[in-house]
């Protein structure tokens, strides 16, 4: 894998030509700027013609696997198809060439869709209000934890320092709670993979600020006692945070607000089809119940006398969590998706997401152990713990690559040994699901009869299996430039 820096030869002259040539001499610049402020050593950035750069990144792109290349069953990540319409909308010059400090009268179009999306998300959540400011799921969680903190601070309940978390929770949940200054207490899951209600009740005291729940949980299981859980939490004077990364499991037919959520975050880059970009940008809007809405981040988008405006007056607000108003162009995509789907489409989302997952689960459990064998929602978790010949889940994952399929999420959730967390999403059709089953069955057979095929996998990827330990032990994080003369 050569990098851009490997392409550079030291003799190359600057290509230039993107912008007009500057007019001033170095002396004219220096006359206006203290010498100590001027860059002394030239940047070590290669100067290449556009074609060389484009070829380099075209080549790199082909070393990647994206949703447009095939099924991408990463559990919890909801790698559904990203409509091209939405991409084009987010690239409309009328939306992109807008400065965040422009006067509200000059950005009525953007403010309108932000306001409308806010309104629609609140309806989807069945909750009082929404902020679009958080730019990722974990950022939504953090914002939620800030809201918890502010809520209790405003009530003088400063002793509520603990957050309860099921042991099946996504890693960002405890991390977000910790970054916001809370202590985390883990609640064990019961045999059916859901929250152990008794264990929860035992922890619920006056030191608890709240609970963070993922619904359905990371096993793909709906917390059937969800109403009991939230009732118990509320009874104890605590709040319930719902991680909404898995909303595609019930969107269009159930609402977190009706389950007792006080704060809920959306992952627009999961549920509402905005692309992941190889790791972002996303968007993590947060919905709240009425009692928390005064604490939402500023500014709020309001409508006054038929015009949209930004409102900074919110004395009880937690403040801001983003430079401006969140990932506006991600919000545009999500809004476009909602407009297209409408209510009927939202229902189709959960319908197909859950049907596809159950279909895969039903077919795959013959080939791999399914620790929690029951109706699942949008995803389910197999175990690679019983693989023969000392093979591991990692080997299965890497072998999938050889068949041109992206592996599922592996080794998460932690409560399943050698977990393989599989989420087909609603945009896969049956042909794609059947192909996946077929390949998984083949791999199960290979594990038994030809274990080396798994152990040596991948052999058809751009690189063979990479040494992660080496990368962690002796980190090389930047291009090692040869020492200059």
């Amino acid at each position: 894998m050569s990098t851009l820096f490997d392409l550079a030869s030291s003799t190359r002259e600057p290509a230039g030509g993107v912008v007009p040539r500057p007019r001033w001499t170095d002396e004219e610049v220096a006359a206006r700027l203290d010498g100590r402020l001027l860059r002394r050593r030239a940047l070590r950035l290669p100067n290449l013609p556009e074609g060389t750069v484009v070829r380099h990144y075209t080549r790199l792109s082909k070393l990647n696997y994206g949703v447009d290349d095939g099924i991408y069953p990463l559990g919890s990540c909801t790698m559904k198809y990203n409509p091209k319409l939405n991409e084009d909308i987010a690239r409309l010059p009328g939306l992109t060439q807008v400065h965040p400090l422009a006067d509200a009268s000059l950005v009525q179009g953007t403010l309108e869709f932000l306001a409308e999306l806010t309104r629609l998300l609140a309806r989807i959540a069945g909750m009082a209000d929404v902020t679009l400011q958080p730019v990722a799921g974990a950022h939504g969680e953090l914002t939620g934890m800030f809201l918890f903190k502010k809520y209790f601070e405003s009530r003088g309940e400063t002793k509520r320092v603990r957050i309860l978390l099921p042991d099946s929770a996504h890693g960002t949940n405890p991390a977000s709670a910790a970054v916001a200054g809370f202590e985390v207490t883990e609640i064990p899951s019961n045999a059916s993979g859901t929250v152990d209600l008794a264990a929860l009740r035992a922890e619920l005291d006056a030191s608890v600020a709240g609970i963070m729940l993922t619904v359905p949980n990371t096993l793909g299981i709906f917390e059937e006692s969800i109403l009991d859980i939230t009732a118990a939490v509320h009874e104890a004077g605590a709040l319930a945070y719902f991680d909404g990364a898995n909303l595609n499991a019930y969107i269009g037919r159930a609402r977190p607000g009706d389950m007792g959520a006080d704060v809920f975050h959306f992952n627009l880059h999961k549920t509402l089809s905005t692309p992941h970009g190889g790791g972002g940008p996303g968007a993590g809007p947060v919905a709240v119940s009425a009692q928390l809405s005064e604490h939402l981040p500023v500014p709020r988008i309001v409508r006054r006398e038929g015009k949209y405006a930004l409102d900074w007056e919110a004395p009880a607000s937690i403040g801001s969590v983003h430079s401006f108003y969140g990932n506006v162009l991600v919000a545009a995509r999500a809004y476009a998706y909602l407009l297209h789907l409408g209510d009927e489409g939202l229902r189709a989302v959960s319908e197909n997401a859950v049907l596809n997952a159950n279909y895969l689960q039903a077919r795959l459990k013959n080939s791999f152990p399914l620790p929690y064998d029951r109706l699942c929602k949008h995803e389910f978790v197999l175990s690679g713990g019983e693989l023969p010949n000392h093979l591991s889940t990692l080997d299965v994952a890497k072998r999938l690559i050889d068949y041109g399929i992206h592996p599922p999420t592996v080794y998460f959730p932690l409560i399943v040994r050698e977990a393989m967390m599989i989420e087909p999403t609603e945009t896969e059709d049956r042909a794609a699901l059947d192909r996946f089953v077929e390949v998984m069955e083949t791999i199960a057979r290979e594990a038994r009869d030809e274990p080396d095929r798994l152990r040596e996998a991948p052999i058809k990827a751009p690189v063979r299996r990479l040494d992660q330990t080496l990368a962690a032990r002796s980190p090389v994080l930047t291009h090692p430039f040869p020492e200059e003369a």
């Binding site: 912008v19 290669p46 309108e112 389950m259």
Partner: protein, 439 residues
């Protein structure tokens, strides 16, 4: 429903395999009360054509998009070489997830590695992460990190720090129980670094700062003692300016929007985060590193993952998962297209156009509240008052900040103008005429 196949016959067959009788039965585990309380959002589905036309109308309602932007304050109207969007439009890049499976993510990972190298080059630091949400959260996380390491529970912050940064910093510090101490700026518009509070975990300064003024970082680090020197920077300016790393910065953060991102009403943005090697295990966010594959070939993977929340959970140093990967790719391609020569040209163009305008305005009798050096943004006091000047500019199709925006920094009756390489001579002539009167 162009994206979801609903084929009743296939669905029936699949339900049979699952062993349930109906689609509704798939949701039997959701409590009946919950299902019965459900209300639709009241939205009919719309065709692609209608959705696109709707958004085209919304886009037209944004007068700012066709105006001539003089706005800055962290986000700037820079020209993005068209090749950037072409690379970003490769679906292998934008439809991929975080590179959990490195063997089929070498595109993303190699670009991350290049990005880190570029950020280090620009900032003069040893290591950089693969991106943060934006410049503000990057700064907030830098302060949290400094406080994790130094533990004083207090930080000193320049009052010339941009409001968008300060707001977020305040929120994060409040939640983390960190006290924020203000450090004032003087008549030059530069922060008074001569006497800084002791026993702080970090001193936070931005250069160019909210007033457009370049801070004299020279010697500051020496006066800080244990405290981290945390500098928020404007990366495009670093094509011309000496990087903060040369002045001993411990952490350099910044808003990367200037490197190939559209303004987009402020999001997505790109947080830059660079620091010293010794803090590798402490930095938030992801990092790509070089490694070898089973055949001994070079490849890239996410490094230092042990820090991550997957493994350490509540002891994680960061909760960041999804970040701004595609924006980082945009910055990488932007810098690759420009090269060192091109970046220097762009930076100098910004510098000379802004100075050209400021000098013209000075000749026409405008005054300047601050006399410190600047890059492409400055505060000016128009001859007949900021309000009138603002109205004239707006009427002429310029997009300018209201003069009240500067009251946060104690400045009245003045306008902040940012001039980029996109502003033409003709536009600057008109600005000069509108602000200073025709010569």
């Amino acid at each position: 429903m162009r994206y979801i196949q609903r084929d009743s016959m296939e669905q029936r067959k699949m339900l049979e395999t699952v062993g349930v009788a109906s689609l509704d039965a798939l949701f039997s585990d959701i409590p009946r009360e919950v299902l019965s309380r459900f209300e639709p959002i009241g939205l009919p589905g719309r065709s692609e054509l209608e959705v696109f036309e709707h958004f085209s109308r919304l886009a037209e309602a944004n007068g700012a998009a066709t105006g001539v932007s003089l706005l800055g304050g962290g986000v700037y109207d820079h020209y993005v070489p068209r090749a950037v969007a072409h690379v970003l439009g490769r679906s292998e890049f934008y439809t991929a997830y975080t590179p959990y499976q490195p063997e089929i993510s070498q595109g993303t990972l190699t670009a991350m590695f290049e990005f880190q190298t570029m950020v280090c080059e620009l900032t003069g630091m040893e290591i950089a992460n693969a991106s943060m949400y934006d410049g503000a959260t990057a700064l907030a996380e830098a302060v949290l990190m400094a406080n994790r390491i130094r533990g004083y529970g207090r930080v000193a912050v320049s009052q010339a720090l941009g409001a968008p940064l300060r707001r977020v910093l305040d929120t994060y510090c409040w939640a983390a129980g960190i006290e924020v101490l203000d450090v004032p700026f003087g008549e030059s518009g530069q922060t008074r670094t001569e006497s800084l509070p002791a026993d702080v975990s970090a001193f936070v300064i931005q250069s160019p700062n909210a007033l457009g003024v370049l801070e004299p970082l020279n010697g500051v680090k020496d006066r800080l003692g244990q405290a981290f020197l945390v500098v928020s920077t404007y990366p495009l300016a670093l094509g011309l300016l000496e990087p903060p790393g040369s002045f001993g910065a411990d952490v350099v953060v910044g808003e990367g929007q200037s490197l190939g991102l559209p303004m987009g009403f402020g999001g997505p943005l790109l947080g830059l985060f660079a620091t010293r090697k010794e803090y590798l295990r402490q930095i938030p966010g992801r990092v790509a590193g070089r490694t070898l594959d089973a055949s001994g070939a070079v490849g890239y993977t996410m490094a230092a993952q042990t820090r991550e929340q997957h493994i350490r959970r509540e002891r994680a140093t960061s909760n960041i998962c999804t970040n701004s990967a595609l924006c980082a790719l945009a910055a990488t391609v932007y810098l690759a297209i420009l090269g060192s020569g091109g970046l220097r040209q762009v930076a100098q163009l910004n510098f000379e156009r802004a100075h050209d305008l400021a000098e013209t305005l000075a000749r026409r009798g405008c005054t300047f509240p601050f006399d410190g050096p600047f890059f492409n943004e400055f505060v000016v006091r128009p001859k007949d008052g900021a309000g009138a000047a603002h109205a004239r500019l707006t009427a002429a199709g310029f997009v300018v900040e209201a003069s009240q925006a500067l009251t946060a920094y104690g400045v009245n009756d003045a306008l902040r103008l940012a001039i980029t390489e996109r502003r033409t001579d003709e536009e600057l002539r008109r600005v000069a005429d509108l602000l200073g009167g025709t010569s």
